[in-house]
Amino acid sequence: MSMAMAGILIAIPASIFVLLALTWKMLPRGGDFLVVLGFLAVWLLGLGIAADFTKYFHEGVFAPNGANAFAFDWINIGDGLFHIQFSTWVDSITVVMIVVVTTVALMVAIYSTGYMRGEERYGWYFAALSLFVTAMLTLVLSGNLLQLYFAWEGVGLASFLLIGFYWERQSAAEAAKKAFITTRVGDVGLLIGIVLLWREAGTFDIQQIIEFAEHGGFNSTYLTVSMLFLFLGAVGKSAQFPLHVWLPDAMEGPTPVSALIHAATMVVAGVYLVARMMPVFDVVPAAREVVLYTGLITAVMAATMGLVSNDIKRVLAFSTVSQLGFMFVALGMGAVGVAMFHLLTHAFFKALLFLGSGSVIHATHEQTVEHLGGLRKKLPITTWTFCIGSLALAGVIPFAGFWSKDEILHTAMHDAPFAYVVLAATAILTAIYTTRVVLLTFWGEPKDHHAYEHAHESGWTMAGPLVFLSILAVFSGFVVFHSVGAALGFPGGILETVYTEEPELFHFDPVFAATAVGMSLAGIGIGFAYWWGDAQRAVRARAWAPELHALLVNRYYIDDLYQGIIDRVVLGLGGIVAAFERHVVNESGVDGGSQLIGWFGMRLKFLQTGRIPNYALAMAVGVVVLAVMAFRSA
């Protein structure tokens, strides 16, 4: 096993995609077994690369570049002036991403064979899934920014195709469009940022750009602007304020897709990008501040919206947006290791929660929490695994989410006390909305008896991934410990391994941890107080402040604002330009020009009267004029 295997990692899903896209109608079972086996191979290979990677630490070599094994020129103008090379780059950040992507992808593929059974375009679903994994792995293995952009758009395309999977539903088509256009706005920024960096550094290679920046090659204002443009791409992809609007709507896609793309992998691409470029962000602290505050605003805002949503998947979507905000706060403080740690644990427990909600939807064909209830008797495995995921999300010790969130809070306490306060409040909100969903779905009385009666646990293809992911949701947080990391072959815990420019040794602070757990438990307690049983207190709370409730339900009216801007401003401008085109350019300019010529023709033709006296008169006048002119000049 060598780093060159990284190329094969991409090639496997890519070839499956091509095969399935062309032949899924002819293959037995739509070719799903190929995808499951392929993803299994990718997963094993990914773990192999991770294991292989540990060698570099023992040999004392860091930043191994497997690039040369797979590098090829894509475009080369002027002998290196405009040079784009496709290659693979593996370092500790990549390794974390590979583990996350391949693990969740495998679980989702297995789960989907149960969840998607009987769908009309079953094989196409798996083809799109392979396309996504191909693009995502290319993204995390990119050694240069242009290749990253290439893959960045590729995951966007896969996301578009899968959100719009049920395209007969107008809402799904609209959601797919919204996701594509919103992230496209971010991508405009990303591409501008990439080209601006290239303009000065003369290269797309990430390591060379970092080197150039660290040696003061950029003017600092220029670099700040470039990095902010770059960050706009991350804001779009990772659904951060103000481009967060697409993610809740993206829940129109099949639930396993939400788990893979819109919780665990694609939406963390922005986090990955900022983490990858952190050495450059370090050069311009102003840009890093923007990252921090964007994350902070998003974290708290999304959590409040999650508090009132009635759709089980949308609550999870708001929660994802909020948790991504946590990661960006960590990045804003320069704590790459911490952000990547939270990315890892979040991917597992959030994928678990989404797959759990999928199990509920599959069993009841219902996803409005107010119509669910009491399902714990019918769906025991789903209930308990969902509870594990929820505890991890709420941040209860010793579940995975606790360790990573605790690290973010810990870093904030030292670096940005203001952020600490906001995040702590958000953590409480997180515990509240999580508890709310769990109670409304699995406890209380069933509200829709028809749905309830028919509900039953699905087969092992769906239960298996839930159990596997819940194990990860419990234990994956332990990678923070030095001894665990060392036992796995790494030099230490995840914080010591990732981003080794600033290795941090994890210290467990019991008082701090107790405070954090206390906050989570308080949130859970509040949740119980309001939504336990018939949730009367929650109803009263809503009646107490209807305006506030409406504000949150309508997502602070930001979606409406954007819709208004598109309808009034963008389409209005389109109307003005189209009218200008029609009336000024066409009717006045072109048609008017031809009519003018016709008009002159109409008028001038009367000079040709056909009468001899008229012509004789004109001739006489002409002779006189010419004679006068001749005499004057003489």
Partner: protein, 497 residues
């Protein structure tokens, strides 16, 4: 590419005319014969075009390859030694354009077999256009260049006025009047070049090495640029294009938007930039301004179009705006992007018109709001259309992105603000295309269109060829980039990288 390959270039130019002649001799009721002649000749053209592109050696020090010349008129009147020659040869730019023509003519021929009205006459005129296009691309003599240029333009009037739809007479007349008016400017420019060079020859390679005063270049470059630019759909002289395309029959729209508009942009490079580089340098900023204005203007207009063909027409105005913007950057990266965009836009716009035609022939309706859920009834059609749209909005992996990337980068090198606006235009493009797709293709199927059937085999084959071209350039752009960028760097004096 050896000199003997020059004969291939001659064959390529002559073949469409020969095919047209053969068609004239064929009785119009012999449909099989018509199909056989057009099918065979278009395939040979395609194969030879691929061969020419493949054989062009960009590593060679000689940029004009396959050069063959015969004197036609010399030492009479104002003509000196080698006054007017039949001279063929290509550079890397022309090689790409020849390939483009081959692809589009083959696909266009396949989908035109369904033309029922005066099929024979249709093909005769179409092939005269094609011959003119090839002739323009391979001519290295200014006289024949212009002759071929006009040959390609003039039959358009009849093709649109006879076989067109909606306001066909209006569209045909408008297109012809504007293009003929523009030709006057080109004509003036050509004689200015001839006079100033003072070598008594129309030989382009000799004209490249002649000396032109800076003043002359500055005065006459805009004439060439405006004259040829009108054919390229240059803002604000683009208005023939949406109307002309909306009323033209399918294959004519394909050839016109796909190839003929590129002849306009190609002529700017051949006559304007390669002969008058100082003039081009001087007017570069103006060209960029016109280009970015057109890009934004076309995209914003497209947002509000309800006729699918008009939307596509304004989309063309916008995409051709990128071409002029790239040319105006006057650096190799941006200009390479322009030529790449000519190819990329040619293929994808041909795909659009092919698909729109496939639907319009059945529905006789192109109003976007009238349709919904078409993917349900015409899945293959929808898939092809989505791929074309994704290429158009610049998705990496498809041809549009490669071209736009070069233009953006070139623009950023010249004027970062323009580069930023250009990238923004790509977002507007995404908006109007996605609005159209989500309205027309997705959602519940409107049963009013129950009689629609999916693309026929001929249409499917044509669309497949175009889609494969889009993918080829999108995934592996080097063959194009190498040929085009080397030619630009070596044939334009004083160009920056």
């Amino acid at each position: 590419m050896s000199t003997s390959d020059g004969y291939i270039l001659l064959i390529l130019t002559g073949l469409p005319f020969v095919a047209a002649l053969l068609l004239m001799l064929t009785p119009s009721r012999e449909r099989t014969a018509i199909i056989a002649i057009t099918g065979l000749s278009s395939f040979v053209m395609f194969a030879l075009s691929v061969y020419v592109f493949q054989r062009y050696d960009w590593r060679s020090t000689e940029q004009f390859q396959g050069v063959l010349a015969w004197d036609w008129l010399q030492n009479v009147g104002f003509l000196g030694e080698h006054g007017i020659q039949i001279k063929v040869g290509i550079d890397g730019i022309a090689a790409s354009m020849v390939l483009l023509t081959g692809i589009i003519v083959m696909a266009g021929t396949w989908v035109s077999w369904k033309v029922r009205q005066r099929t024979k006459d249709f093909f005769i005129l179409l092939y005269i256009v094609v011959g003119g296009v090839y002739g323009t691309f391979v001519s290295l003599d200014l006289f024949f260049f212009f002759l071929m240029y006009e040959t390609a333009v003039l039959p358009m009037y009849m093709l649109i006025a006879i076989w067109g739809s909606t306001r066909k007479e209006y569209g045909a007349m408008k297109l012809m009047m504007m293009l003929v008016a523009a030709s006057i400017l080109i004509f003036t420019g050509i004689f200015a070049i001839f006079t100033e060079a003072n070598i008594g020859s129309f030989d382009l390679t000799r004209l490249y090495t002649a000396h032109y005063s800076r003043e002359m270049q500055i005065i006459f470059f805009p004439m060439i640029a405006l004259g040829c630019g009108t054919l390229g759909g240059m803002f604000p002289f683009h208005s023939w294009s949406p109307d002309g395309h909306a009323s033209a029959p399918t294959a004519v729209s394909m050839v016109h938007a796909g190839v003929l508009m590129k002849v306009g942009a190609f002529a700017i490079i051949r006559l304007g930039i390669q002969i008058l580089p100082e003039g081009a340098q001087f007017w570069g900023p103006a060209l960029i301004t016109v280009g970015i204005t057109a890009a934004l203007y076309g995209a914003i207009s497209a947002l509000r179009q309800t006729d699918l063909k008009l939307m596509s027409g304004f989309s063309s105005v916008s995409h051709m705006g990128y071409v002029f913007m790239g040319l105006g950057t006057m650096n190799v990266i941006g200009m390479t992007g322009s030529v790449l965009q000519m190819f990329a836009h040619g293929v994808m716009t041909a795909l659009f018109f092919l698909l729109i035609g496939a639907m319009y022939d059945q529905s006789h309706n192109r109003d976007i709001p009238n349709f919904s859920g078409l993917a349900h009834r015409m899945p293959m059609w929808a898939i092809f259309f989505v791929i074309g749209s994704l290429a158009s909005l610049g998705l990496p992996g498809l041809s549009g992105f490669v071209a736009e990337l070069h233009i953006f980068v070139g623009a950023f090198r010249a004027y970062p603000i323009v580069g930023g606006l250009a990238v923004l235009t790509a977002a507007i493009t995404a908006t109007y295309l996605l609005r159209m797709m989500s309205q027309m293709f997705f959602g519940e199927f409107n049963t009013r269109w129950d009689m629609l059937r999916d693309v026929t085999w001929a249409e499917r084959a044509g669309a497949t060829v175009l889609v494969l071209s889009i993918l080829a350039m999108g995934l592996w752009p080097s063959p194009w980039v190498e040929r085009i960028s080397t030619t630009l760097a070596q044939t334009i004096p004083g160009v920056s990288l």
